[in-house]
Amino acid sequence: MSEGHPAKGSEGRRVAGLLAAATLAATSASGAATGSPVEVTFLGAPSSAETIATGEVLYAEHCAACHGENREGQPDWRRRLDTGRMPAPPQDGSGHSFTHSDAHLFAMTKSGIEAVVPGYESDMPAFEDILGDAEIIAILSFVKANWPEAKRIFQAGLPGMDKGTSGQ
């Protein structure tokens, strides 16, 4: 752990491809909306109320065991576990998720933290074999919808958020 390595081009292109696919999925999800658009967006596309509701169900099924039923994170989440790994942080806006762009949140959820921080070990698995892109987007839309508005505004100003792609 903590022995970072420089980016590898082929892996980078793979993740970039995932993001492109996710952008399409987000657009699709938005197009399926039946209600009026909500203020929450993901990868540049509005997240519909239906998507957010789907995300709530999926969050309870796949995320709540670690991140908390109310997205409060694991107890004492700023201090390491005995394994050396960090506990699951809150997703309610009191942690640091809002300091990550949509692209990073998606990539970390789909491919694991190590996909974006090389060498970093985490208890959070990659969900690419468990959830589809649209499902990941639904979960993250639900999470974002429940951040305090100030946190959503902060996140909207991060590098790359205006492009709906990576942080550069």
């Binding site: 022995e3 292109r13 942080p89 300091t99 550069q168």
Partner: protein, 308 residues
């Protein structure tokens, strides 16, 4: 002042020059030597201060020093900020911090919330003069957002080569992390890492923003890290040129011009603390077990400072 980026010098050429220059070594001054035992040095609005067994002040960038009033408690770490020219925030032996608004003439106890344990490293946030960070051995990283009055735990210690490492030195580096803030670099018993000031995770220094290495897919530049296995006793970033950092290791003073991707040995001086003049990256001061030193060429050569 030398700005390597403005001169468009190749980084390898620069660092090769740095390594070659290390043979220039150090020079002794003719005046009386400064006392040993300085634990921290820093630039202030009127010059510089050195704390530890003595309390010294300098008005000429650390070339000569005068004895100041000795505080009633021993001071072990020090933080200043260019936007608070008269303010010193000091860590106290046996724990806690104190604040002075007149360059040390009067110290007021602060530090609500901090454990009663001696602080190992103290730094001011580069962009937020009232935000401070303190690293506590065996514990982790604490933050104050009210100039040292109250503190909260924000991050555990770095985890390097299978174990948690105590942070010995901290430097707030005014370079965007890509996560809405800047970087906090930590020199530990096991080497150098950095954490975005949102405190999501300690990580090695890698190109570009915190999470973009793979997503960008670009060819990564070469990196030359600090020598492994050495504690990073002191670490500073130039406020005027944040890409330029200096680290004090047992093997000497090391420098980087690219925020820590490529390091080279600048000099063999075994320093225990460093400071960079806020407007001039070439002007540095240091303390070693023998006394105080100053450099006017970004750490390539050092001269002993004198006591007046």
């Amino acid at each position: 002042m030398t700005d390597f980026k403005q001169l468009r010098l190749n980084r390898r050429a620069f660092m090769g020059g740095v390594m070659g220059a290390s043979i220039l070594g150090t020079t002794s001054a003719l005046g009386a030597a400064t006392p040993a035992g300085a634990r921290a040095v820093a630039f202030t609005g009127s010059g510089a201060v050195a704390i530890g067994d003595a309390f010294l002040t300098s008005e000429d960038g650390g070339a000569s020093w005068r004895q100041g009033a000795r505080p009633d408690r021993k001071l072990v770490a020090l933080a200043t900020h260019p936007e608070r020219p008269n303010r010193l925030i000091v860590a106290l032996e046996d724990g806690g911090v104190a604040v002075s608004h007149n360059e040390g003439k009067r110290l007021v106890p602060a530090g609500r919330g901090l454990p009663a344990t001696e602080i190992g490293a103290l730094a001011t946030a580069a962009r937020l003069p009232d935000t401070l960070y303190a690293a506590i051995p065996g514990d982790g990283l604490w933050r104050s957002e009210d100039a040292g009055e109250s503190w909260d735990f924000v991050m555990d210690r770095p985890f390097i080569a299978g174990e948690e490492r105590d942070v010995l030195s901290l430097a707030s580096v005014d370079l965007a992390s890509g996560m809405g803030g800047i970087w906090l670099y930590g020199g530990s018993t096991g080497g150098l890492q950095r954490v975005p000031d949102c405190f999501c995770r300690w990580q090695d220094v890698q190109p570009e923003h915190a999470l973009d290495a793979l997503i960008e897919g670009a060819t990564a530049p070469d990196t030359v890290p600090l020598p492994s296995g050495e504690p990073v006793r002191a670490l500073i970033s130039s406020p005027a040129a944040p890409n330029r950092l200096w680290a004090a290791l047992p093997s000497g003073i090391w420098a980087t011009a690219d925020a820590g991707l490529i390091w080279g040995k600048a000099n063999s001086l075994v320093a225990t603390t460093l400071a960079s003049e806020p407007t001039n990256p070439d002007t540095l001061i240091a303390a070693s077990p023998e006394g105080l030193w100053h450099s006017r060429d970004a750490g390539l050569t050092w001269a002993t400072s004198t006591i007046l």
